[in-house]
């Protein structure tokens, strides 16, 4: 069964303390892996798409990487405004839907 698992469920960081969020997946026929940011009470906001192992994408303090079994979202020198829930999702061959993880709630303290 196709599955996405995110860890940790919650993470508290001091401002400037770099860390990584993990998204592990089991899937037959990965077409794309996506990262989203979700602020409380709002819809998820698209961050990155990764298509193949070894690929990396960057945006400001965020960098997403992909291997054959997992993806990492690296946060470098985070700021309080980076506090949010980060979701990963994947799309697979032969289906329209994405499979979502349950997210990592990140809190960055000033």
């Amino acid at each position: 069964e196709d599955q996405v698992t995110q860890s940790p469920e919650a993470l508290r960081l001091q401002e400037g303390e770099s860390s990584s969020l993990n998204c592990s997946y089991t899937v037959s026929g990965l077409r794309g892996l996506f990262w989203y940011r979700q602020d409380p009470g709002k819809g998820p906001e698209f961050l990155f798409t990764l298509y193949s192992a070894g690929e990396e994408k960057e945006k400001e303090r965020l960098k997403a990487t992909l291997t054959k079994k997992e993806s990492f979202l690296h946060i470098t020198a985070p700021k309080p405004e980076d506090s949010a829930t980060y979701l990963c999702a994947m799309s697979t061959s032969g289906t329209y839907k994405y499979i979502f993880g349950t997210g990592t709630r990140l809190k960055v303290l000033a």
Partner: protein
């Protein structure tokens, strides 16, 4: 930028009422989706539509129906609202599957059924 607009941010409805959640997107996307989001369960797909008048059941369609009469509008209908349908409802759209762009989500509708 693509915009996906959900008609209500917050709704409170009574058990047994018929509830309509509306979603409109402005970028000519073929595919549209309805998810519900609950703590600890993540996002679960209710229904999706890959084109006008076309619809497919997702993982949890029971108690829901959908309508897509125009390309830009995708409506979710709760036939007879129940308390276990209290949730955050998210609409999303995207280009066809051949182009692997991410979903664009609406801001969500927080529905409470009392």
């Amino acid at each position: 930028d693509v915009k996906v607009t959900q008609s209500s941010r917050y709704l409170v409805k009574r058990t047994g009422e018929k509830v309509f959640l509306e979603c409109v997107q402005d970028m000519d996307h073929e595919n549209m989706f309805w998810y519900r989001q609950d703590p600890g369960l993540g996002l679960r797909l209710i229904y999706f539509s890959y084109d006008v008048k076309m619809k497919e059941k997702g993982d949890i369609p029971e108690g829901y129906s959908v309508s897509r009469e125009k390309k830009e509008r995708f409506s979710l209908i709760l036939e007879s609202a129940s308390t276990n349908q209290t949730s955050m409802y998210l609409c999303a759209s995207r280009l066809p599957q051949g182009a692997e762009y991410g979903y664009t989500f609406g801001s969500g509708t927080r529905l409470t059924v009392v």
